[in-house]
């Protein structure tokens, strides 16, 4: 089962739309609620990242009988040092974004905590791709 969602820069109003849709699907598949929760938390975080820190992007989700794979491809400033960004408290967010309550430097670490596999690749000035995987069993 394949899904695609678009997210747009600074469109905080619609943050969470993709996670909600995926959540509904996973509930119908009888996935364990605690696993659904992990997927939703990670995806929501990634969704907000693309909205807050990039110029928007596309979310690709694939659900298979044993796992969900999500790829979030954004066009944006990119992350110069991924290892640095993976640590709690480190953030590349602008002061404006921080004023809105985002950019606490918890995004990537929080995703990592909730998924079974995470891969972040980024090119400065081009964009970031976050790939994550959560196993159902």
């Amino acid at each position: 089962m394949h899904f695609e969602y678009q997210v747009y820069e600074a469109d905080f109003v619609n943050a969470g739309a993709a996670s909600s849709a995926i959540k509904k699907t996973l509930k119908q598949l009888n996935i364990n609620p605690s696993i659904i929760k992990r997927v939703v938390v990670a995806l929501y975080e990634a969704e907000v990242n693309a909205i807050a820190h990039a110029y928007g992007g596309t979310i690709y989700a694939d659900i298979e009988p044993d796992k969900i794979t999500v790829k979030i491809v954004d066009t944006g400033p990119g992350i110069p040092d991924i290892d640095w960004a993976m640590q709690e408290g480190n953030s590349t967010a602008s002061p404006e974004v921080r004023d809105m309550g985002f950019g606490a430097g918890m995004g990537l670490p929080n995703i990592k905590k909730n998924v079974d596999k995470l891969n972040v690749s980024s090119t400065v000035g081009v964009g970031t791709t976050v790939e994550m995987e959560v196993n159902f069993v």
Partner: protein, 459 residues
Amino acid sequence: MEKTPFFHALSIDEDACIGCSHCMKSCPTEAIRVREGKAVFLPDKCVDCGNCFKACPTHAIYVEQDDFDSIFNFPCRVAIVPAIFMGQFPNDISVSRIYGILKEIGFTHVIEAESSIPIYTAAKNKYAIEHPDIRPLISTFCPAIVRLIQVKFPSLVENLIPLKAPIDITAKYIRRKIKKEYELNDDQIGLFYITPCAAKIAAVKAPVGEEKSSVDGVINMDSLYNRVYKKIKEQGKKFKEQKLPISQLSADSVLTSLTNGERRLTNVQHSYAIDEIGNVTEFLEKLENDEIEDVDFLELRACDQSCPGGILTCDNRFIMCERVFERGRKIADRERKGEQTKDHEMEQERVYLSRDLHVDPIKPRSMLVLDEDISKALEKMKKISEIRAMLPQTDCGICGAPTCDALAHDIVCQHAELTDCVFIQRNLEARGNMDVDESLKIMEVIWGEEKMNNYVKKK
């Protein structure tokens, strides 16, 4: 997951149902279909919220209750009355007078359901302290909400506070008290709960997380209202009542069944009080996504304005709220002057009542699951999205399902056919793949023969 079927208090009177589908459109869990011109409940999806009851123009949806005269099967007959019952009557009809009338029409004892609120609140707050890892805690006060969470938000089931409802604690207390006082057996005491809604009946008759009901019968608030009002009229304006010496409930207890009533008694920092099932659903969606931070307690109620908005109450809910609030205000004044309200007597039994306050963990019973086997569920889901793409997305309901999505779901689960959709029928007719008689036959299966012939008859 819980397998035993839900007990439901709502039923459809087939003779009165005109198959208008208003109920189907009003149902927040898509638990109603129309077949052969009559509304049909899907028991796994219904949470007993009562929206359909309110939407029905012909009163074809009714709430089953015990026969009033069944109270006389017991030598000792106790009415357990929610505080909002008093809020249905004008301010000049006092609580004492209503107590008196309830005894006149057949009850030997009257106790308000909220009498156990001090004990219930203490237990709830203790649970909050003992379980700092579970946040937010969700109140189980409203049984429709418990069911909503079971069917629609299975991941939040563990947030429900697994405590007996105040009515059950009150029932346990009064039964023991009467037994001691009059030296009676259990079967000589009949406890009757006066209910403001269908969900409470379902909860009392088949409690979630408990084995057996704490009361012997349930009487609908509207039918008791009629009996009490008749007496008031008979007594006339000049009636001199006997005042109850002290207030039966503390102000806190009186206010509990109003929105914010429970929230104001919690010991946690951040809490919300949300009423009306649509509002609750919207909030829980966000909560499930972890979009809401810092929330420790949720008071959730299915009806607008909480219990005064129940389907069996007999006055405008806002007016009822004001009356209940006013009663609370007066009691609070007296409490400040040192009056000890009657419900404090229950404190003496605290140890006994606290012994088994906890119910078994509440289990999810998701209605969303397409198949227990995930590969099969994925298959079905693919089919649903294919079918959805063919449907008009008008949610017109002519197929007998509330939405196009619900129809797609029904088709895949083999409860409906693609040709139930009137748009598909027209298309097939235009292409010569279906004749008019065939499509009329389909409509007849959904809407009944009579409806299909109304036009012909009139001509």
